[in-house]
Amino acid sequence: MTPASPEAAASENRPYKVIGTRPIRHDGVDKVTGRAKYGSDIRLTGMLAGAIVRSRHAHARIVSIDTSRAAALPGVHAIVTGTDMPDVSSRVAELGEGAVNIQHLSCNILAQGKAHYKGHPLAAVAADDIHIARQAAALIDVQYEVLPPVLNVTDAMRDDAPIILDDLRTASLAEDPSDRPTNIAKHLRFEKGDVEQGFSQAQVIVEREFHTATVHQGYIEPHTATALWNADGQITVWTSTQGSFLARQQTADVLHLPVSQIKVIPMEIGGGFGGKVPIYLPPVAALLSKKSGRPVKIDMNRTNVFESTGPTPASRIRVKIGADEHGRITAAEAWLAYEAGGYPGSPIAPGCMCVFACYDIPNGRIDGYDVVVNKPRTNAYRAPGATNAAFATETVIDELCEKLGIDPLEFRLNNAAQEGTRRIDGPVYARIGMKETVQAIQESDHWNTPLEGPNRGRGVASGFWFNAGLKSSVTATVNADGRVALVEGSTDIGGSRTGIAMQLAETLGIAAEDVIPTVVDTDSIGYTDVTGGSRVTYATGWAAYEAARDIQRQMVERAAFLWGTDAEQVRFEEGRICGPDDKCFTFQELSAQAAETGAPIIGRGSSDHNQPGGAFATHVVDVEVDPETGKTTILRYTAAQDVGTAIHPAYVEGQVQGGVAQGIGWALNEEYVYDESSNAKSRVPRLPDADQLRSADDRSDPRGSSESRSPVRCSRRRRGPHRASAGCNRRRDLPGGRHPHEPFADVSPAVDARNPELTQLNQPRLKDQHDAASLHSRIDATGHRWCRLCHRYRQHGPRSDRRAGTAVSRSCRSAG
């Protein structure tokens, strides 16, 4: 008898046959051969190329936009500006993962009256090819009234700060609405117990302030969208997105159209990490298509992505924690202000809810502020909001441990949240794995190996993130050869279609290879929420489980019909359908017969369960810091993650490793560095940086904390607060002590204080090494220059013909 739910299945302690194995992913061959089609790979007859004009100023009123010269350029077919966007009243839509103000979304897609950040889209052109489109974009003349920008929360929250959104008022449940113009979009407060009394009981109190930098998700594939506004009014959008239904809904809302007038076809997606949940391009491409009568493709480039799409917010955080002489936390307080960017909507809420989520806090108060600044509108980046918060908390905890003389893991164990702990924001935990992750580190070889050598430190940190449930839909068709075509709507960022196929296969008792998963468009499957929030393996997996059970019911009925017996006499058991008198069909046998004996067998499943487990993790890292340059080398890294049951262990490992790499990048070298013009740059870790990671014991610990965890509750939230905090905490043993800023590489006041002449010395970065061709390249016999680091051509063309910054041969130059 098939269990009624995945949890029931798990509790039967039946060994899995498919779950926990490592099949080759179904889309793998296409991806290693270059056949897989990503967003920008779409080719349509008559397709035009689009280019976008973006604001040169971080804060400016748009006085006028003159498109006449662009329109006169041969090859230009359409131009749109913010005035072409339909009027949408200040409506807020509930779009599955948090609320979105449609007016703000519309203005973020194409500015209407005001530019809120450098890179803010102002106009768009469609032309015969990308070169003409860019040429035309350069001919669009924008007149600005430049306004003073605000580039951090401190400045933005001042009473006399320049106001970015004239009609913004602070939303708060606690206070009466104020009519004062402000940059503070929201104030959250959570309270539990009596914080003042709690602190009065503390023997040691540590209060520190932290600043974290803007960091981009850094997906390799830039945003792209192609749209066709057909003559019948139907719009088709091809795009790389984390949520095709969300893209459809947002496009419909912004264009003020019924949702069924739009079909979104999700292409393969080259990374997202939260950054490809919102839309930027589809409405613009659609409007250009409407005006030109042709399909229009718009690709962002890397600069557009960094300047104009949502990074994760920079923040200012104050954390105060008090503990008694036994190391028990008596009170905790946090003040967090997150940059929302040009429009409200930073992840301040999850930041507040996660900041103390790992611990049992008897008395707590958390204040959170969502603050608009003149930067691109921020968006989710893996455990959005939690990373900043945990960096602060874990650093303070570390200092508390030092002052109390308590081992940092013991402290965490003594104060760990567990089943029955009430979070400061209210909910009580069911069974969770915080303690188990701490114990895993305690028992690890890494923790029990002494760290020796100068300038070395060891840091440890814990972290938490939610898992979402939300809605998913799946259909599954049994083919005559016994294989099952699985159709689902969760765009696949990292192998999820295989994980979902494995859950269907397990339930049906067939091989994972006998399931053919396909991710389809919004007209071909029921509503499915975004691929994000660690929800897909859980929620779409559950829908697949339901579809498999539906197939089982139909197979049982079909077998009963063939045997002339009642369905109650027939049972589905591990891929076989068995009835009275030892009669049995294999799944394949009955599939073949079913094709001849009745309607097609099609399973349908949907889920809107919201009971996934939250994910805890504890990490430990050993680092060595060069006291002269500040360069940090990671010597060893161990991650203990509570994942529940790993459906496909290889991809669980990949998620952990990826999260660690991103966390290290955040801690050590990724940031937006702004000048007064709001120009920014950023850097992500490369292979030689990750050399330090490889030598670490980055074993993920997939043992679930609880046997009752549903097999579908596989947390894939790998990144998170712990890495950054662990990296920070390692500094406590080193010259200069702890560091209140992320990333650490560029800001080292302790080093600077000792060696002021080194203030301008930055650790040479691999990117810089590549760019500084004169340092690291050599010129070969043909006059070509190539980088000795990666043996890659950096420039090209005979040296004698080379102009600075280009490599156009003499013959081409003379041809113009």
Binding site: G28, V32, R35, D41, R302, Y651, A690, C790, H791, Q795
Partner: protein, 164 residues
């Protein structure tokens, strides 16, 4: 108005001829003119390596190569790696080691790794790391890629010894 030039190349073993303007990069021609979209555009300034192809046997960022300068050259792209007999060992090693998540950087990595194994059939881990330093991988921490390349190398080396 700039005239287009005729350029002749051998691509994945096949003679090919195309017209292009001097400002067009090899990446643009591959993707838009020759419809070989397996080579990806990530940054357009030589940072990410997603556009890696082989130009006369050397790995290049095709976004930094002008198409007009490839006249007479031999170019290999990801589309030419597998054969009618199946996947190259590198490709299957990537799959077996789960060395891709979103997969956008995978063609670039495979092309770069291909040149490594041709120059150095038995690389150390450090050599693999530094040879692939020109390719960015954002989804996972590089470890599985290293393992895949080392696995592919391990499978190739005995074969080469036999052939010798």
């Amino acid at each position: 108005m700039t005239c287009k030039r005729i350029v002749r190349i051998t691509i994945n073993g096949r003679l090919e001829e195309f017209l292009c303007k001097p400002r067009q990069t090899l990446l643009e021609i591959l993707r838009d003119t020759l419809n070989l979209t397996g080579t990806k555009e990530g940054c357009s300034n030589g940072n990410c390596g997603a556009c890696t192809v082989l130009l006369n046997g050397r790995a290049v960022d095709s976004c930094l190569v002008l198409a007009v300068e490839t006249d007479g050259a031999e170019i290999e792209t990801i589309e030419g790696v597998a054969s009618a007999d199946g996947l190259d060992r590198l490709q299957s090693a990537f799959l077996e080691n789960a060395a891709l998540q979103c997969g956008i950087c995978t063609p670039g990595f495979i092309m770069a790794a291909k040149t490594l194994l041709e120059e150095n059939p038995d690389p150390t881990e450090e050599e693999v790391r530094f040879h692939l330093a020109g390719n960015l991988y954002r989804c996972t921490g590089y470890d599985k890629i290293i393992r895949a390349v080392l696995d592919a190398a391990a499978d190739r080396t005995p074969r080469q010894e036999t052939e010798e």
